[in-house]
């Protein structure tokens, strides 16, 4: 698949660096931000193909970010990540336009497959 510009928004260092490692090895360019606000700023500054978005951020609710992305940047693909996976969470995130859903913890293969699946369909 063609290389993607990916932004990871997660307040956990370990998630950011691990996603960075896994996806850069697959040839993608990966940036990461640890707050919702800095994530929104980064998206305003640069063009991304995909956002990996944590649902629970220190400054903002992941659902709110998802809502604003859907309104302002409709072609952007978002994969939601959360440590508190419930079916209703997943359904809500998909309704708000998320392309897929990863429940933590996940393996590198699961991450790569989720990314590939989103862009295969499109």
């Amino acid at each position: 698949m063609k290389p993607l510009n990916v932004l990871v928004i997660d307040n956990e260092d370990v998630i950011c660096t691990a996603c960075h490692l896994v996806l850069t090895e697959k040839g993608h360019a990966v940036d990461y931000c640890k707050t919702g606000k800095s994530g929104l700023l980064a998206m305003a500054r640069s063009k991304y193909d995909l956002v990996l978005l944590d649902m629970k951020l220190p400054d903002m609710d992941g659902m709110d970010i998802l809502r604003s992305l859907k309104d302002e940047m409709p072609p952007l693909r978002v994969i939601v990540m959360t440590g508190y996976s419930t079916l209703s969470n997943a359904v809500q995130a998909m309704k708000l336009g998320a392309a897929d859903y990863l429940s933590k913890p996940f393996t590198d293969d699961e991450l790569v497959q989720a990314v590939e699946k989103v862009f295969e369909v499109n």
Binding site: E12, V14, I15, G83, Y84, T86, K104, P105, D108
Partner: protein, 392 residues
Amino acid sequence: MHSLTNLQNVLDVVVTKSTQAVNAKGTLLRILNKETNRFEVRAAAGLGERYLSKGPVSTEKILSTLSKPGEVYIITDIWNAPRVEYPQQTWDEGIRMLLDVPLAVGEQVTGLLRIYLTEQRELSTDELDFIKTVAMQCACVIERVGLIQKQQSRFDYLASQVEKGSSLGRMAAGIAHEINNPLAGILLYSSNMCKKVPKGGPLEECLKIIMKETQRCKSIIQGLLDFAREQEPEMALVNVNDVINSAVGIVENEFHLRHVRIQKELAEDMVEVLLDKNQIEQVFINLLLNSLHAVDDKGLVTVKSTVDEENRKIQVEVADNGCGISKENMEKIFEPFFSTKATGTGLGLAVSYGIVANHKGDIRVSSEPGRGACFIVELPMLPFESLDKERI
């Protein structure tokens, strides 16, 4: 006299009035403490401190030679009466005659009223009748207060269990959430590294173990989240026998493989009750699998359903003839994370407890180590009025 709000007030009135009624020096009221099996002084009137502090009276002494409930035992020979444990002190207190009246409901003696007189005399029928009536009424009050206290302590216990369940649930949800983040780091790095080490080497093996154990943590946490979610049941009118049959169908193969028999004794007159089929099925599966693990090969697990029309409940019993549960484990058996199985998460019964509680039902266990265990799930039947509505 039947005011139950304060037992002590009642007992104080009993000793004062009894003393006055027969013009006595004083009265002592003892109640049997079932935990210590001793008759403890609960109220006294007219007696000196020195006399009251003379020492304990043995239960055997009180029960020996005691007259039948409803009768008065009169002691005139203080020095030689077998029931008088401290004759010297009694004499020194100026006492010359004693009346012992058992406080009893039926044949069960729960207390003793002892009236102390300073002179020996004949008692009129009215006086004796008065004392007997007071004793009878007093015994009833003591019994009722005992029952109320028993109910209260059962209620307090259940309330504390519910509270413990919900606060643990909240805490568990928070912890689960925090733990999944570091687990995600571990799993991403280990699965990524696994591809970079020589195939079939010791490093690959170690990394695979790390991945497997991380996945295990994930499934434990998922179970915990299911428990913590306290999902509202989706109620529908269901015959519980159908739920039992489908739960048995799911685990049947597992039983067959281990040569354990399942015997069903389902009530033919079973009525439909409101329940969430999936949740209650999960409870029965949990109980059946627990029983399966408790019995050896060729064991027997019995599932029985009954209708308790009188108490408007239905009951499902899952009993086995396995190893049973020790007394100390019985207390912890419904707590989250308590498990005696090497690979158990300790959530099966905790989840079951939460589900049954959400159905406003009850789940209990009885067991004798070495002689199997029996879990009883009780679910409420529909009240009569809603049954009528259903028909309309």
